[in-house]
C-alpha cells in the first residue's frame, strides 16, 4: 500500500513539476518578444505586460500524509482576460490655436493618440471641420479649403511633420500605454487676420492585424455598443455603422468592451458629427487654425555720435534698421512699409537704403519705390518703401528685405 502511494506520489510529483515548468516556460516565451527593446528596469515585474486574450491560469497543489504515506494532488483554474478598448485623442499644440497665414498650404495641427486599453490596436483617423473654437475667442468663422484636409501619422524618423516621411494614414500597432503623434494638414483660403478654423481629429479603434497593414475597424463591441459610420484614412476607408451585438460573457473567450470616454467639449465630435459619446469606439479632440499677419518686421536702432561713440546726445545720428520678412508659403502683394520719424529728431536726407541700395527721397516711382514724406515740404514726418514696386511685385516668403534710414537728434 505504501509503495503504491509512493509510486503514485512520485508520478504525480513529476507530472506537476512538468506542468508548472512548461507553464512557466510558455509564460516566459510569450512575453520575451514583448520585452525586447523595453527598459530593463521593467524586467523584475514579470506581469507588467498583461494583454487582453491571455489565459490567466494558476495551479494549486496539495500535499498531505495519510496512514503514514504521502499524497499529493493539484487543481487548476483558468479564464481569459477580456479586451478593454480605451484611448484618448488630445490636441498637442501647447493649448492654443496654430498660427497660419491666409492662403497658406499644408498648415499643420498636431494631435496625440494614446492607447489606454489592455492590448495593441490599430487606430483609424480622420479630421473634420468643427465648432466652436476650442480656445474660446474669437468664434470659429472659416474652414480650410474644401477637400484639402488630410491626416498623416508621425513615422518616428524626424520630429514634426515631414511630408516625405510621414505618409501613413492610420496608426499601426499602438501598444498599451503608448502614444503616436498625428498631423492634420490642410490648405487655408484667403482670410483676414484673427479668423479661426476649428478642426476635430477623430480616432476609431481597429484590430491590430498584421504589422504595416490597416486593421479592420472595430465598429461594435460584444456589449451592445457601436460606432457611427465614418470615412477614415484620407478617404480610403469607408466604415459602416456598427451593428449592436451582445455576446454572453464567457471565461473561455475574449470579449471586447468599448470603454472610451466622451469628448470633453461640444467641438470634440465623433463621425456622427455630434459631441463624441462614451463607449462608441471613437474619441476626439479639437484644435484650431488662427490667421496671423504673414509679415514680420524686426526694428533695431544704432546710435552714432560725432565722436565715434554710441552716446545719444544732440547731433548724434540714430540709424534705424527694419528687417522685413514674409512668413508661410504664400507670396504677399502690395507690401508697403512705412515708419514715422521720431519726435525731436530730424530725417537725414538721402539716408534710405533698401538691401544696401541707396534710395531717392523723391516720389519718383520709375527710379525707385521709396520716398521721404515730404522731402519737398519739410519737415519729413515719415519714410515709405514699397516692396511690391507699385503693386507689380509679389514679395516671396523666406528672404529678408533690409530697410535702413537715419535721423539726427535735435
Amino acid at each position: 500500500m505504501q509503495k503504491q502511494y509512493n509510486n503514485l506520489w512520485f508520478y504525480i510529483f513529476k507530472l506537476v513539476r512538468a506542468l508548472i515548468v512548461s507553464a512557466d516556460k510558455a509564460f516566459v516565451s510569450s512575453k520575451t518578444i514583448v520585452l525586447l527593446g523595453l527598459s530593463l528596469s521593467l524586467l523584475n515585474s514579470t506581469n507588467v505586460f498583461a494583454v487582453a486574450g491571455d489565459t490567466i491560469t494558476t495551479t494549486a497543489t496539495i500535499s498531505y500524509d495519510i496512514g503514514g504515506a504521502p499524497g499529493t494532488s493539484n487543481a487548476s483554474v483558468s479564464f481569459v482576460e477580456d479586451r478593454r478598448i480605451n484611448f484618448l485623442v488630445t490636441d498637442s499644440n501647447g493649448g492654443s490655436a496654430v498660427p497660419v497665414i491666409s492662403d497658406m498650404t499644408d498648415a499643420v495641427i498636431q494631435f496625440t493618440v494614446t492607447n489606454t486599453g489592455n492590448t495593441v490596436q490599430d487606430f483609424l483617423v480622420t479630421a473634420v471641420n468643427t465648432s466652436p473654437n476650442p480656445f474660446a475667442a474669437p468664434a470659429d468663422n472659416f474652414d480650410p479649403l474644401a477637400g484639402t484636409i488630410q491626416v498623416f501619422v508621425e513615422s518616428g524618423l524626424t520630429p514634426g511633420y515631414q511630408a516625405v516621411e510621414d505618409t501613413a494614414v492610420f496608426i499601426d500597432e499602438l501598444v498599451s500605454n503608448t502614444s503616436r503623434v498625428v498631423y492634420v494638414v490642410a490648405d487655408m483660403p484667403t482670410q483676414v487676420i484673427d479668423n479661426v478654423a476649428a478642426i476635430a481629429l477623430i480616432a476609431q479603434v481597429a484590430e491590430s492585424g498584421a504589422v504595416g497593414v490597416e486593421g479592420a475597424a472595430i465598429n461594435a463591441d460584444d456589449n451592445g455598443m457601436i460606432s457611427p459610420a465614418g470615412v477614415f484614412s484620407n478617404g480610403s476607408t469607408n466604415m459602416p455603422s456598427g451593428i449592436a451585438n451582445v455576446i454572453a460573457d464567457s471565461p473561455f473567450t475574449m470579449e471586447t468592451v468599448f470603454n472610451d470616454p466622451a469628448g470633453l467639449s461640444p467641438e470634440d465630435i465623433s463621425t456622427a458629427l455630434i459631441q463624441d459619446v462614451v463607449r462608441n469606439g471613437q474619441h476626439s479632440d479639437a484644435g484650431a487654425y488662427q490667421v496671423m499677419s504673414p509679415v514680420n518686421i524686426l526694428k533695431t536702432v544704432t546710435v552714432i555720435d560725432a565722436l565715434g561713440g554710441t552716446d545719444p546726445h544732440p547731433g548724434a545720428t540714430l540709424r534705424y534698421q527694419l528687417d522685413v520678412n514674409v512668413a508661410g508659403n504664400t507670396p504677399v502683394d502690395n507690401l508697403v512699409v512705412t515708419d514715422l520719424i521720431p519726435a525731436n529728431t530730424t530725417y537725414s536726407d538721402g539716408s534710405i537704403t533698401l538691401n544696401g541700395a541707396v534710395q531717392s527721397d523723391l516720389n519718383d516711382a520709375t527710379a525707385d519705390y521709396s520716398r521721404a514724406i515730404d522731402i519737398l515740404a519739410k519737415p519729413v514726418i515719415s519714410i515709405e518703401v514699397d516692396l511690391s514696386q507699385g503693386g507689380v511685385l509679389a514679395v516671396s516668403p523666406g528672404a529678408t528685405n533690409v530697410i535702413i534710414f537715419e535721423v539726427t537728434i535735435d
Binding site: 503514485l8 504525480i12 508548472i20 509564460f27 528596469s41 523584475n44 506581469n47 507588467v48 498583461a50 494583454v51 491571455d54 489565459t55 490567466i56 491560469t57 494558476t58 495551479t59 494549486a60 497543489t61 496539495i62 500535499s63 498531505y64 500524509d65 495519510i66 496512514g67 499524497g71 499529493t72 494532488s73 493539484n74 487543481a75 487548476s76 483554474v77 483558468s78 479564464f79 481569459v80 482576460e81 477580456d82 478593454r84 489592455n118 454572453a248 460573457d249 464567457s250 471565461p251 473561455f252 470579449e255 468592451v257 470603454n259
Partner: protein
Amino acid sequence: MKNLKENHMRNIWKAVLLSVMVMFSAVGAHAEEGAIRFSNNAFKQVISKSADGSVQYDYVEPGLVLPDDVILYEIVFENISTQDVSNIVVNNPIANNSSYRGSSATGDSTEITFSVDGKGFASADSLTVKDKTGRVWKAKPEDYTAIRWVYKKSLKPGAKSKVTYKTTIK
C-alpha cells in the same frame, strides 16, 4: 450570470461549486481522486451599492475580466478517504497578469506564508526582496509569486476546508 453573496459563500459549495467544477473541467480544473478531493475556483468580485448606502460584494463567474478587476480564488480540499489526513500543505502560485491583494489570504487553522521566488516562503512581515542594486526591501503584496497554507489540524474523513485569496487583474 448567477450572483453569489459573500455571506452565503458556504452555500456556494453546494449550489455553484459543482457547476463551476464542471465549467472549468474543459480547461483542466479538476480533483485528482485520491484521499483528497481538491478543487480550485475563481470568481470575479462585483461591488454594488444598495439604496441604503450599504456596499455589497458579489462573486460571479469570471466571464468578463478586465484590468483592475478583483478575482477571488477559493481552493477547497475534502477528505474522501476513511482515514485522517494530516500534514496538509496547499501551495498556489499567483496567476499570470495578476497581482496578489495584500492581507487577502485566508484559511481556517492555517499558517500562511508567501514567496517572491516560489522557493523560499516567509510571513508577510518578514518577506524581503532585493532590488537591482542588491538593496533589501520588505516585499510588497504585488511582489508575491506564491502563497502557501500549512493546515495545522488533521482532516477527518468526510471533512473539508478551504483557503482563499484575492488578486487584481493587470
